[in-house]
C-alpha cells in the first residue's frame, strides 16, 4: 500500500544503514529505498497487506538508549510491519536466510514442481525466489497433495489447485480492486482453495488480472494455455485499443504472431490492471478472417487485385465528389489516419460527408456543449477521480463501458471514501459501492437530470437564469420523482452530495436515448452551477480523436465549426486545401442517402455498420443502394460481402500511430507486430490515394502527419512524437 501523503518521517536503520522514511511505510517498501529487495509472494503494493506467505520475514529490533539493538525474539513479516522511530531491520542475517529457506521448503511441500509444463514457468515468482533464496533440496519425501489440474474456472481462467501456495492475492483482488468478491478461500489448512462459489463460473469483468498477479501457475490464462513459454516471446509496450480507456499494456508476440497481452504500469490510466474485454479481445490479429490483400469486384465476384487497381477504381468512383461521396469510420483508427481521411475527403473529394458517430442522437456542431454553454465535455482525468469528493455516474454501466474508470472510481471509494451516485436504468456493477443508487425508468434520463438541477436550484446552491428556472418547473424534484420512479428524497440527496469537488460522468451511451441533448444540457448546467466537472466520455478506442480531428460533417480539426466561415477558411489554409462550404450529412442521413441512391460512393473505414448502427434494415438498404462501396477493414465483416473494393488495413499494433482516449490523453502505439500480408496502415492508404489524385509530396510516416496535425489543431502540439511522453499527454 502506498504511504499516506504525510510529511512525518521516522529514522530507521536497515542493515545498519540509517535512512529516513515516511512514518508508517511498510518495511517491504522501505528497503527498496536502499536498493534492497525482500522476497514476497502475497504482498502487492496496491492491496492491503495480509502477511499470509511469510516469505518476507526479516529480523527487527529497536535501538536501546545505550545504543545497542535489542532484537525481537522472532522474525517479523516485513509486509505488515510499518516503520517506526528507532527501528532496526536486518534483511541479510543468517537467521533470515534460514527462515526464507524454511518458508520456501514449506511452500514447495505441496507444490507439484511441474514447471516444464506450467505456463508460468520462466516468469514465476516462486521459481525465482526458490532459486535465489530457497533450499537446494527438500526433506519432504511423502506424497504431495493431489487435486484436479487444469480446472476451467471460467472461459478465460484455468485453475490448477495443486500449484496454489495460498497467498490470497486473487481473493484480495476480487475483494479490494474489482469488488465482485467472486473468489474466496474454501476449506482451511492445506486444503484451502481459492475458488468461486460452488465452483460456478468466475464471471468477473476483470478476471484476467488474477492471472497476472498469481505468483505461481495456479491461475493461468485459458487462451494462452500452452501457447508459448516466456523465453519464446518478444514483448513490446503498446496500448489497448478495445475501448476508450487506452490502457497501457505489454504485447507479447511470437514469430510475428500476437500471443497475449498483459497490463503495463501507467499510474495515470490503468495503474497496472486490464479488463477482460481488452486482455482477451485482441484475437482479430490472428483471425482466420483477416483481410490480407485488396480485392476488386469484377463481374459480381470479389477477386484479389493489386493496390494500384484498387486505387484506380476508387478514384474513378469518387471522382464526382461533393455530396455524392461519403465516408464512415469506426473507432480503431489512429489520429493520423483520421486526419488524412478528412483531408482526403475535404481536399480531394470536396465533401464534408464524414462521420464517426453511431449513436442514435448525433449532436450538431451548434448543439455541442463547448460552443453552446462554454462547457468542456471532457474535464476530469482518470487519475483525478481518486480525489473527488463525489461522483455522479449517470446513464452508464461503467464496468462495461469504461472498465478502468470503474476501477479507479472504486478505488476512490475504497481508499478515500468518495461518494458515488449511480444513476442507471438497470443494475450495474457500480451499485455495490454506490452511496446512492438512482434507478430510473428507461427513457426518463432527462427528467432525472432536470430533477437534479431543480433540486440543486431549490436548495439554493445553484442559480440559473430565469428562462431555465421557468423551464425547470416541469422537473421539480417531486415531478421528476413521479416521472422517473426515483424517490424524491434520493434526488434531493444526490443533488446535495454534488459540489465543487465533484464530477459528473456519462458516456456517449447517453446519446442513444431520447432527449439526449436536453439531458446533457441539464447535466452540464448542473455541473456548471455547482462548479463541478462534467464529462461526456467516448466509448470507442479513438472516438475522441475522430471528434477532435474533424471526422464530423460539421466540425473541422480542432473543433472549428464549418459554419464559422472565417475560421474554417483559416483551418483550410493551414491544411493547404480549400474547405467545401456545404455541411455534410450525419451517419443516419448518410445511410438514408445511400439507400436512396443520392450517394454514389461510400467508404467504410474500419467499421461494420451492421454491428454499430441500430437500424439493421437501413444499413442493408444503404449498402445495397450505394453504387460503389469501399470496405477498408482489418478483418472480414458482414459489410465485406457488399463491397466493390476491399482494402486490407493493418491493426493498431501493426503500425505507428497515436490514439486519443476518453480523457483526451494522446498515447503513441509503435509498431509491435510485423505487417500482415499486403495490408497497409490506414493513413498510408489515404496518403497514396491523395497522391494519385493530386501530385504532391506524400506523407512518409505517421510522425510527419502528426507534425501537420499539430499545426492545424494546436491542441495536438503536445502530441508531436518528439514531445509525447511514455504515459501519453492530455490535450
Amino acid at each position: 500500500m502506498a504511504a499516506a501523503p504525510t510529511t512525518d518521517t521516522v529514522t530507521i536503520s536497515i542493515n545498519d544503514v540509517e535512512i529516513e522514511v515516511p512514518k508508517g511505510e511498510l518495511i517491504v517498501d522501505a528497503v527498496k529505498r536502499l536498493g534492497l529487495e525482500i522476497p514476497i509472494f502475497c504482498y502487492h503494493s496496491r492491496m492491503k497487506p495480509v502477511g499470509m506467505c511469510r516469505m518476507c520475514l526479516v529480523e527487527v529490533g529497536f535501538k536501546q538508549p545505550d545504543g545497542s539493538v535489542r532484537k525481537m525474539p522472532k522474525p517479523q513479516a516485513g509486509c505488515t510491519l510499518p516503520a517506526s522511530e528507532g527501528m532496526a531491520v536486518y534483511t541479510d542475517t543468517e537467521l533470515v536466510h534460514k527462515d526464507r529457506r524454511g518458508v520456501l521448503e514449506f511452500l514447495l511441500i505441496n507444490h507439484p514442481l511441474d514447471c516444464p509444463i506450467c505456463d508460468r514457468g520462466g516468469e514465476c515468482p516462486l521459481q525465482n525466489n526458490t532459486l535465489f533464496y530457497g533450499p537446494s533440496t527438500s526433506r519432504f519425501i511423502e506424497l504431495k497433495r493431489h487435486l484436479p489440474k487444469a480446472f476451467p474456472l471460467s472461459r478465460y481462467v484455468t485453475l490448477d489447485l495443486e500449484r496454489c501456495i495460498q497467498c490470497g492475492r486473487c481473493v484480495r483482488f476480487t475483494e479490494e480492486i474489482s469488488g465482485d468478491a467472486q473468489l474466496a478461500f474454501r476449506f482451511r489448512g492445506a486444503n484451502m482453495q481459492p475458488t468461486s462459489f460452488q465452483l460456478t463460473e468466475f464471471e468477473s469483468k476483470f478476471s484476467g488480472n488474477v492471472i497476472e498477479i498469481c505468483p505461481v501457475g495456479a491461475l493461468t490464462s485459458t487462451k494462452y494455455r500452452f501457447r508459448a513459454r516466456p523465453w519464446d516471446l518478444e514483448t513490446k509496450p503498446a496500448i489497448c485499443t478495445v475501448c476508450s480507456n487506452g490502457c497501457s499494456v505489454w504485447f507479447d508476440y511470437r514469430v510475428g504472431k500476437f500471443v497475449r497481452l498483459n497490463g503495463r504500469v501507467n499510474e495515470a490510466v490503468n495503474e497496472e490492471w486490464t479488463c477482460d474485454r481488452g486482455k482477451f479481445g485482441h484475437d482479430f490479429y490472428n483471425s482466420p478472417k483477416r483481410l490480407l490483400a485488396p480485392a476488386l469486384r469484377k463481374e459480381d465476384a470479389l477477386r484479389t487485385a493489386n493496390w494500384a487497381e484498387a486505387y484506380a477504381a476508387i478514384l474513378e468512383a469518387f471522382e464526382p465528389g461533393g455530396n455524392a461521396v461519403a465516408a464512415l469510420t469506426g473507432p480503431m483508427v489512429s489520429n493520423e489516419s483520421y486526419y488524412l481521411l478528412q483531408k482526403l475527403f475535404r481536399g480531394v473529394f470536396r465533401s464534408n460527408n464524414l462521420d464517426h458517430r453511431w449513436t442514435r442522437h448525433l449532436s450538431a456542431a451548434s448543439d455541442r456543449l463547448e460552443s453552446k454553454m462554454g462547457m468542456p465535455t471532457v474535464a476530469t482525468s482518470i487519475e483525478a477521480f481518486e480525489h473527488k469528493s463525489a461522483v455522479l455516474a449517470i446513464g452508464t454501466s461503467l464496468a462495461d463501458e469504461e472498465p478502468i474508470l470503474f476501477l479507479r472510481l472504486r478505488k476512490a471509494w475504497f481508499k478515500n471514501g468518495t461518494k458515488v451516485v449511480v444513476a442507471c436504468d438497470r443494475d450495474t456493477d457500480a451499485d455495490s459501492f454506490a452511496h446512492l443508487v438512482l434507478r430510473y425508468r428507461p427513457g426518463t434520463e432527462m427528467a432525472l437530470a432536470g430533477g437534479l438541477l431543480a433540486a440543486a436550484v431549490e436548495s439554493g446552491r445553484a442559480t440559473v437564469p430565469d428562462p431555465v428556472r421557468e423551464d425547470l418547473k416541469r422537473y421539480s424534484p417531486s415531478a421528476a420523482a413521479s416521472a422517473t420512479g426515483v424517490p424524491e428524497d434520493r434526488i434531493r440527496e444526490a443533488a446535495d452530495i454534488l459540489g465543487p469537488n465533484a464530477a459528473i460522468v456519462t458516456t456517449h451511451r447517453l446519446l442513444d436515448v431520447a432527449d439526449a441533448q436536453g439531458t446533457l444540457e441539464y447535466l452540464a448546467g448542473l455541473a456548471m452551477c455547482l462548479r463541478a466537472e462534467f464529462n461526456l466520455y467516448a466509448l470507442g478506442a479513438n472516438d475522441q480523436g475522430a471528434l477532435e480531428l474533424g471526422i464530423h460533417p460539421e466540425l473541422l480539426p480542432s473543433g472549428v465549426a464549418l459554419a464559422d466561415a472565417e475560421a474554417a477558411a483559416e483551418v483550410g489554409r493551414t491544411m493547404g486545401i480549400e474547405i467545401p462550404r456545404e455541411p455534410g450529412l450525419g451517419t443516419h442521413e448518410l445511410l438514408r442517402a445511400c439507400a436512396d441512391g443520392r450517394i454514389k460512393a461510400l467508404w467504410l473505414v474500419g467499421c461494420d455498420p451492421f454491428a454499430l448502427h441500430a437500424d439493421r434494415d437501413l444499413v442493408q438498404r444503404a449498402l445495397e443502394g450505394v453504387e460503389f462501396l469501399v470496405v477498408q477493414d482489418i478483418v472480414e465483416t458482414e459489410a465485406t460481402s457488399y463491397a466493390s473494393v476491399i482494402l486490407p488495413m493493418l491493426g493498431p499494433a501493426e503500425q505507428d500511430g497515436t490514439y486519443t482516449n476518453m480523457e483526451r490523453r494522446v498515447q503513441r502505439l509503435r509498431q509491435v507486430i510485423p505487417d500482415a500480408g499486403d495490408a497497409k496502415p490506414a493513413w498510408r492508404i489515404f496518403a497514396e490515394a491523395m497522391l494519385r489524385a493530386q501530385p504532391q509530396t506524400p506523407f512518409f510516416s505517421a510522425e510527419e502527419i502528426m507534425e501537420e496535425i499539430a499545426r492545424v489543431a494546436p491542441a495536438f502540439e503536445v502530441a508531436r512524437y518528439d514531445r509525447l511522453g511514455h504515459e501519453g499527454t492530455r490535450l
Binding site: D114, P116, I117, G121, G122, K149, A150, R225, F226, R227, A228, R229, W231, D232, V255
Partner: protein, 170 residues
C-alpha cells in the same frame, strides 16, 4: 652455426626418423586406422553428439512434453517448439502437454548438446548419425516426424548409412 643445426636440422631429421620407423613397421598393424568411407564406416563413440532424436517411453508415448526448455537453452536458437494439450482421445505424451510442432534447423545447430542437458524428461538426445548433408536448405529443417523415434529404442541402434556404408571393426 651449431645453433642452427640444433634447433632446425636436428628436429627435422628426427621427424623423418619417425616416418622411417613407421614405414619399416608391418603395414598390417595399422591397416584398420583408415576406413574407406562412404563404403565403410565405423561405430561411433557412445557419447558422440550428432543427429537429434526425440525418444519414446517403452509404452510408445513420446517423452517430449513440449516445454521449450531446449529452445531456451539453445545458443544457436535453432529449435522451435509449439505445444498443445493432450486429451484422452488424442494422447501423445503422459501428462497435460505435448509438442505439436518440433523443428530443428540443422544448418544452425552447433551440436553442443545443451538441449539434451536442458530436457527435463530426457526426450531429446543427440545420437550417432552424422550423415546430415543434403542438397536443399529446406531439407535441413528437421520436423517432429523426422526427429521422433519410430519405436522405443530406435535411437540407440547403430544408424543406417544413407550412402550404403557398412560397419567395419573399430
Amino acid at each position: 652455426m651449431s645453433d642452427v643445426y640444433k634447433s632446425v636440422v636436428k628436429p627435422i631429421l628426427a621427424g623423418f626418423g619417425i616416418t622411417r620407423r613407421r614405414l619399416m613397421q608391418r603395414r598390417k598393424k595399422y591397416a584398420d586406422v583408415t576406413v574407406q568411407y562412404p563404403d565403410e564406416l565405423r561405430e561411433q563413440y557412445p557419447r558422440t553428439r550428432w543427429r537429434h532424436f526425440l525418444t519414446r517411453y517403452d509404452n510408445g508415448l513420446e517423452k517430449c512434453i513440449g516445454c521449450s526448455l531446449c529452445a531456451g537453452a539453445c545458443p544457436a536458437r535453432c529449435i522451435f517448439v509449439e505445444a498443445a494439450e493432450n486429451t484422452d482421445e488424442a494422447r501423445f505424451s503422459p501428462g497435460e502437454r505435448y509438442a505439436v510442432r518440433y523443428e530443428i534447423n540443422m544448418i544452425r545447430c552447433i551440436f553442443c548438446g545443451y538441449c539434451q542437458d536442458a530436457c527435463p524428461t530426457g526426450a531429446i538426445i543427440l545420437r550417432k548419425d552424422f550423415e546430415l548433408a543434403d542438397y536443399r536448405r529446406e531439407d535441413f529443417i528437421y520436423t517432429k516426424e523426422m526427429l521422433l523415434e519410430e519405436y522405443p529404442g530406435q535411437s540407440e541402434e547403430p544408424f543406417e548409412s544413407k550412402v550404403g556404408g557398412v560397419y567395419v571393426n573399430g
